[in-house]
């Protein structure tokens, strides 16, 4: 609220750094320092760091290294996500552009999208069994739903004036769609790609917790069973960081592709 930045900023940055340091110190104090919590309830920060480093090369206790789990997760998540985007974007655009299709499909879609991605896991496992396919299908559905919603609203938000401008220049319906509506929907489509990625990644973790033999979700679930909380926490951290990195990649691509900035 108040003005005066510059010098003030540094003061608050210092407070932030201090706050994190105090937090980590308290964490250390209640674990290693005073031994209030044992490592099967709350492992110390030191232990978590050690495990994080060791787990890259060590397959015990769950049969795979951190890298193998990460790769397994990425393969499923990105596979399902990409196909979901490939199907979801055109579907959303088509729904928004064609009024009849919109009115026919919209209510069905509104019903389907209220179903959380995880809920499909049981259906897919029963249909195709535990494995790559069932998880990829679940992720496909959750990514596709997010893609359809965003590209749909992107097209719907096309300014009527822009369409009129196109029409005065004699553009055909196809021209209007590809030269006016889709470019103006691009920012929303990229928002959709970001949102879909988030929901694909979350759904993946859920699917792996439920039905899997490899992957980060599987790893933390196994570690939970044998009270290796250090591995659980390492797994959560890797899940969070990977999710954040993937999302920032999508955003970088979005900034490159969407020229002229995002008009609000």
């Amino acid at each position: 609220m108040k003005k005066k930045q510059g010098a003030r900023m540094d003061k608050y940055l210092l407070v932030s750094v201090l706050s994190v340091c105090v937090g980590i110190f308290v964490w250390w104090l209640v674990t290693d320092g005073l031994g209030l919590f044992r490592s099967n309830v709350l492992p110390s920060p030191v232990k978590v760091c050690q495990t994080f480093l060791k787990k890259w090369v060590e397959a015990r206790p769950d049969g795979a290294t951190l890298l193998q789990h990460l790769m397994a997760s990425l393969k499923v998540a990105l596979g399902g996500y990409l196909i979901g985007a490939l199907v979801g974007i055109p579907l959303g655009i088509f729904m928004a552009w064609n009024d009849k299709v919109d009115m026919l499909v919209r209510p069905v879609f509104d019903l389907v999208r209220t179903i959380p991605g995880v809920a499909w896991t049981s259906v897919m496992v029963t249909l195709v069994g535990i494995g790559y396919m069932s998880k990829a299908l679940v992720i496909f559905i959750s990514a596709m739903v997010a893609m359809v919603i965003n590209s749909y609203s992107g097209i719907k938000q096309t300014k009527t004036v822009h369409l009129w401008v196109g029409q005065t220049f004699g553009a055909s319906n196809w021209d209007l769609l590809t030269r006016v509506a889709i470019p103006s929907a691009l920012p929303m489509i990229f928002t959709g790609l970001d949102v879909a990625l988030g929901s694909a990644w979350t759904t993946l973790v859920a699917a792996e917790l439920l039905a899997s033999t490899r992957g980060l979700g599987f790893m933390i679930q196994q570690a939970r069973g044998i009270f290796r909380l250090d591995i659980v926490i390492v797994g959560m951290v890797v899940i969070a960081i990977t999710g954040a990195i993937l999302s920032s990649i999508i955003r970088k691509i979005g900034d490159r592709v969407v020229k002229g900035g995002r008009l609000r």
């Binding site: 608050y12 009115m103 209220t114 809920a119 979350t202 859920a206």
Partner: protein, 259 residues
């Protein structure tokens, strides 16, 4: 003319749903999908029948109510503390500096990834589910509230000071009203993610509730029960988000969005 347009939307929507059900029905009757997938009549029949005839030890009403209770109690707490922390961080720079790093670090962890940890900390009972839902709501609502406080229009602040408001009055009459729509959009998003999280949590460990319906169906290979569970999740999800939207439009009548 407008009445006709409105009806057209309704009629085509109904036709769309009908076509969808027909395709589903035809696919189960005419192709090999029928061996694994029940037809819609069986599913919806089973869904409504479950209101009278219990699945497991409880009727459908109880399964839905149990899931809703599990979700709503921590949702209210998460919402309350989320708004509180969001407002504190938005209003006091020091609170911002202290809490923001933690929120930035913990928020990228999907709520579902907390499940193993919450089971160890809080056991298999309601405690761990409350913890999960609390987390799922808290971060979202705290951040949207924070953004709301920061989006206060500087000229409205000036207008309020010019009219003689002191800091407390400024906060109550300008900052809070500006933040309310943001809080609602946070509550709306959090509701969706809380519902997804409770379904996941029930699928992993529980002995009743809509998530249990699904996972129990999977365990015994009963596809009809899985589909009944999915129908229950979809309809309940639709109901609660619609209720939330109605509440929002009642409370935020001044915004254009609220109409």
């Amino acid at each position: 003319m407008r009445a006709y347009e409105k009806n057209k939307r309704l009629i085509l929507g109904a036709v769309g749903i009908f076509i969808f059900l027909c395709i589903w029905y035809a696919a189960t009757k005419l192709t090999s999908l029928g061996k694994v997938m029940p037809d819609p009549v069986t599913v919806f029949g089973g869904f409504f029948h479950a209101f009278i005839q219990p699945i497991g030890t409880r009727t459908m009403t109880m399964h839905i109510l149990i899931s809703l209770r599990r979700m709503l109690i921590p949702y209210v707490f998460g919402g309350f503390f989320g708004v509180l922390v969001g407002v504190l961080m938005g209003w006091y720079k020091a609170a911002d500096a202290i809490f923001m790093p933690y929120i930035q670090m913990l928020r990228p962890i999907p709520p579902i990834a907390w499940i193993p940890l919450s089971i160890i900390w809080f056991g298999f009972d309601e405690g761990s589910k409350y913890f999960l839902i609390f987390l799922a709501c808290f971060f979202t609502i705290a951040l949207t509230t924070y953004n709301g406080v920061h989006s206060v229009d500087e000229t409205l602040v000036r207008a309020s000071k010019m009219l003689g408001a002191n800091d407390r009055q400024l906060f109550l009459t300008i900052v809070l009203p500006t933040t309310v729509p943001y809080i609602f959009s946070g509550l709306q998003v959090a509701l969706g993610s809380a519902w997804a999280t409770i379904v996941a949590a029930e699928m992993i460990r529980s002995s009743e509730g809509v998530g249990w319906l699904i996972v129990r169906g999977q365990d015994v290979g009963n596809m009809t029960q899985i589909m009944i569970g999915i129908v229950a999740i979809a309809l309940t999800g639709l109901l609660i988000t619609t209720l939330m939207r109605v509440l929002e439009s009642k409370l935020c009548a001044w915004t254009v969005r609220g109409k």
